[in-house]
Amino acid sequence: MNMAPLVDGSLVVLILAVAIWTIAVRDSFAAVVGYAIYGLMLALAWVRLAAIDAALTEAAIGGGLTGVLLIRAAVRLRPTESVVAGDSPAWFVKALAAVLAGAVSLALAVVVLTLPEPAPTLAPQVAEHIASTGLGNAVTAVLLAFRATDTLLEAVVLVFALIAVWSLAPDRFWGGRPGQHYHLEANGMLAYLARLLPPLGIVVAIYVFWVGADLPGGKFQAGTLLAAMWLLAIMAGLTDVPEVRLVWVRIALVTGSAVFLVIGFAGVPFAGAFLAYPEGYAKPLILIIEAASMLSIAVTLALLVLGPPERRGQS
C-alpha cells in the first residue's frame, strides 16, 4: 500500500492548522512558538518536494533563527501585547480581509491547477553545464555559478539589513554591545548545553559546508548552524556579544561579500565576464567564496538576531 498520499495529506492539514492557529491565538508568545513549529513542519514539506537544500535552510532559518528572533521580541513586548490586542478592527474590515484573502487564495489555486504540461524546467541546461563547475550538487552550482549574481547581491542585502538594524540604536549606545547581558548560571542546563553542543555543532557545520559541493548542504545551512552555536554560547552567558565598533567585527561582516566581489571582478580579465570562473578553476574558487561567505553569514545572522546596540561597551 502506498502511504505517500496519506503522509502528504496529513502534513498539509497540520501545516494549515498551525498556520491558522498562529494568526488566531490570543497570546502573541504562543503564536511565535507556533511559528517556530510551523517552520519545522514546512521543512518536512520541502523534503516531500525533494528539495533537501531548501528543507535544511527552512528548518535552520525559518524554524530556528526566525523563531529565536520572534520569541525574544515577544518576551519584550509581552506587557503591551494584550493592550494593543484591543485595537482589533471592526467586523466589516475583518469580512473584507476574508474576502480579499479568499480571492487571492482562489486565484493562486487556479494557477496551481492550470500549470502548463509538460512543466517548463531548466534542469537539462543545468545538467548539461554542471560538469564545467566541478560540483555535484545542482543547487550549489546554480547558487554559485549559474546565478552567482543573485547570491552575491543576497550577501550584500544581509549586510545592509544589519546596518539598518544597527542604525536604530539610540545615540548613547552607538558602537556598544547588542542585546541584554546574559548572566552565566555555572551549573545550569543552558550553560551545560552551551559547553557540550558547540564543538559538535561546529564539526557538523563544517561537514554540511564541505558536502554542499556534491550533496545537499552548503554555506547558508552551515553558516546558520555556526550562528546558532555562537548565539547559544552568548545566551548561556559563557561569552558576551562583541561591541559593534570593533574592527574585527566589521571585517568579519564584509569578508564574504568582498571575496565574492574580488573573484567576480577577477573573472573579467581571466574568464571574459563578471563572475565567470576560468576553465578548471571553478571548484576551488567556489569553495573559497563559500568558506568566506559562511563565516560572514554566521556573524551577520547572529548579530541580526541580537538587534541594535543597547549597552555601552566596558572598555
Partner: protein
Amino acid sequence: MSATTLFGLCGALLVGVGIYGLVVNPQPLRKILSFNLIGSGVFLLFGVVARRGAALGMGGDPVPQALVITGIVVAFSATALAVALLLRLHDVSGTASLTTKESPEPSDT
C-alpha cells in the same frame, strides 16, 4: 490528486491565511508573523514549480530551489529589520500600537 498539486494548494491557502492575519491582527509582531506566512506560501509554490520540473535524475528544477534558498535568507533579514523597528517603537513610545487614539485607521505595515 498529485503531491505537487496538494502542496501547491497548501501554498495558495497559506498566502490567504497570511493576508487575513496581516489585516486583522492589530499587534505589529503578529503582522510580521503573518507576512512571513505569506512569504512561506509563495516559497512553497516555488517548490511545487521546482518539483514539477524534475528531470534527468534531479528531484526538481534546481533554479527555483536555489531562488527559494536565497529568498528564505532575505526574508529572515527583512524580518530582523522589522522586529528591530518594532522594538525601537516600543522603547520610544512605551507601546507597540500602530493606531493613535484619534484616528483608529489601522496603518499599513
